[in-house]
């Protein structure tokens, strides 16, 4: 399956790519909020972990967005890749929630 611009008048690939970018911004903002709160509580290791999770999310999202770039010569990845990407994002969100819970209780 290719994503030629002329074959995709609804720009589904572009919109999905932008949706991933917005998710990346959201996740990064959460990670940085947790890192900031952890630093204020002198939890340096926690802050580093939160930043690492944010970096992992950014890498995942960059990779997924790159695959969805319109006009790319390689074929689109299959459903297995899509499932892995979405599962990873949901898992990172749950990890972020756990970190937020820990910081809130602390």
């Amino acid at each position: 399956v290719s994503l030629d611009e002329d074959a995709d008048p609804g720009l589904a690939g572009d919109r999905t790519q932008l949706a991933w970018s917005r998710s990346a911004l959201n996740l990064s903002a959460n990670g940085l909020l947790i890192a900031r709160a952890a630093l204020e509580a002198n939890l340096v290791a926690f802050a580093i972990s939160a930043t690492a999770v944010t970096a992992a999310a950014a890498l995942l999202i960059w990779h997924r967005a790159e695959l969805l770039t319109p006009g790319r010569r390689r074929p689109l990845p299959g459903p297995h890749h899509q499932q892995l990407a979405l599962f990873s994002l949901a898992a990172l969100t749950v990890v972020t929630a756990a970190g937020a819970c820990a910081i809130a209780v602390w």
Partner: protein, 156 residues
């Protein structure tokens, strides 16, 4: 046409049955997502739907996940910036928001999987209770916030 199928045309079922692995992910890593849920692999079920529908389903998941992240951020902000005279009252607002966010994220992944499966099998989209749960959760937290604000005022 480059010998590839374009969007808007029906896909051949065999194209996306996992015979090739364009993403290049190791099999061990990619099987983690499917093992997490008691369901068979997606590509073994039915036929691949129109990519536009798959993208729409993916964007819906992403929108729900952003809502979950917004709830987590709101909970974190409540924990950081709310100041009640009674210690711990802020947790009554912060923790439910964060837990609701985490639950919403898991539910959105399950909903995406169910919708993807129904599309592959040519079935109607599955029912989702997530909008009602979200609305009810936000209403409860808002109500609790109002009650706690009054209690805090009285204690003061």
């Amino acid at each position: 046409m480059r010998g590839e199928q374009r969007l808007g045309t029906p896909l051949q079922a065999g194209r996306q049955r996992g015979s090739t692995r364009p993403g290049g992910h190791p099999r061990r890593l990619s099987s983690l997502a499917t093992r997490a849920l008691p369901s068979p692999r997606l590509e073994r079920e039915g036929e691949a739907p129109d990519p536009r529908f798959t993208f729409a389903n993916e964007r819906t998941f992403l929108a729900w996940n952003r809502t979950a992240l917004a709830l987590i951020a709101a909970g974190l902000a409540a924990a950081q910036f709310l100041h009640f005279h009674l210690h711990g009252l802020r947790l009554l607002i912060a923790l439910p928001l964060i837990v609701l966010g985490a639950a919403l994220s898991i539910a959105s992944y399950r909903q995406w999987l169910a919708a993807e499966r129904s599309m592959r099998l040519g079935q109607p989209p599955p029912y989702s209770a997530m909008p009602q749960v979200l609305a009810l959760g936000i209403a409860i937290v808002a109500g609790c916030g109002a009650v706690l604000a009054v209690i805090d005022r009285i204690v003061q």
